[in-house]
Assembly symmetry: C2
Homo-oligomer: 204 residues x 2
Amino acid sequence: MDNTELSIQKLLNYFNKRTHLNEADEKIIADAYKLKKVKKKEYLLRQGEVCKYEGFVTKGAFRIYYIDDKGLEHVLYFAFEDWWVGDIASFYDQEPSGLNIQALQDSELLVIDKSTKDKSYEKVPALEKVFRMVIQKHLTVLQKRFLMTVSAHAEARFNELIQRCPTIEQMVPQHQIASYLGILPESLSRMKKQIAKRETHRSN
Amino acid sequence: MDNTELSIQKLLNYFNKRTHLNEADEKIIADAYKLKKVKKKEYLLRQGEVCKYEGFVTKGAFRIYYIDDKGLEHVLYFAFEDWWVGDIASFYDQEPSGLNIQALQDSELLVIDKSTKDKSYEKVPALEKVFRMVIQKHLTVLQKRFLMTVSAHAEARFNELIQRCPTIEQMVPQHQIASYLGILPESLSRMKKQIAKRETHRSN
DNA sequence: AAAAAGTCTTAACCTACATCAAGGAAAGGG
DNA sequence: CCCTTTCCTTGATGTAGGTTAAGACTTTTT
């Protein structure tokens, strides 16, 4: 079994956890998605472009971020295996995107373009429900993140992130974690020093 | 035509803008949704309760907000006519909600409970697509809001709000607008004074 | 192996907004 | 209509995190 087939198997697995697909459905899906390799630091999407692909990450990791008018980057989320990447608004309306999607490591994903996706909904109606639920999940996660961001200090947000995703510090550089938390790298560095100082005080 | 029928007509209208329903579909939907009246300051949902209803606002306005551990309120969004209210996570998983949904004025909405909603998806599959798109829209709006919140100052967020929703100041008290912007009422008051001062300087 | 690019830390200073406190205006209820 | 509650404003002071600048350390590229 080659790389593409393995990836497709992961995707079918993902779908079958959420609905039941028959063999004909699986064939349609297998034909609709194409394997795409993206090298470290390369982009799947850049701000200003139309989002051509919706992708299912099968290997590696991505960061999805926005660059504001001052040139500062703001990480919207990190995407690892079994996550979806893309800019829904840009993909569905085929209008310029406000987001950048960059590989953090050499990565692979299964991608689908807009017209193929539309056809897949027609051919496999069960996908409507699956994606409704996937998007619902995304929405609730973002809602929680938003409320956390407006109600808690950076240190609480940092602790929450580490608890929810303990390996994150091994996977992405610290300045990108700072960007995810909504603070500058300098602030995160300072904050970690403070935390460490409190830790040693406590143990003495 | 009574109040309920008028409301149902608004809802069918809303759905028919996004898909095509036949008469049987319309009948099913008309039976599934019930009119509910909520007086000013009353709640459709309180933090800690399970979200029993998903609602389509046909009259009035609501605020959806979260109370943090310090007791501070954070407005997630305001909902006016033709908007949906509810806590998706709590509604679909029937688990306690983290949100409060309160009427800002005497209001009316069409509500549906979880099991009726599940049945409506089975009976009218076209609704899957409609709600997938509604939720997609919610997600993109929240995404933009989140990025605005982390990248722009309170004054820029205020200007954006006024531009996007010019009547908001007539509809909701200023301290709730402050809460939506993620600042304290005192800060918004001060900010508006600053803006006004700059305006008069410019015109002299 | 050298050069270049990227990453992390530290320090001094600054600012947007929070906090605390209090008085006044408006609005809604009996 | 008064009384209570809600709402808005203003001032003094505090602070989390931003800004600027610089040095060291690490990784990648050539």
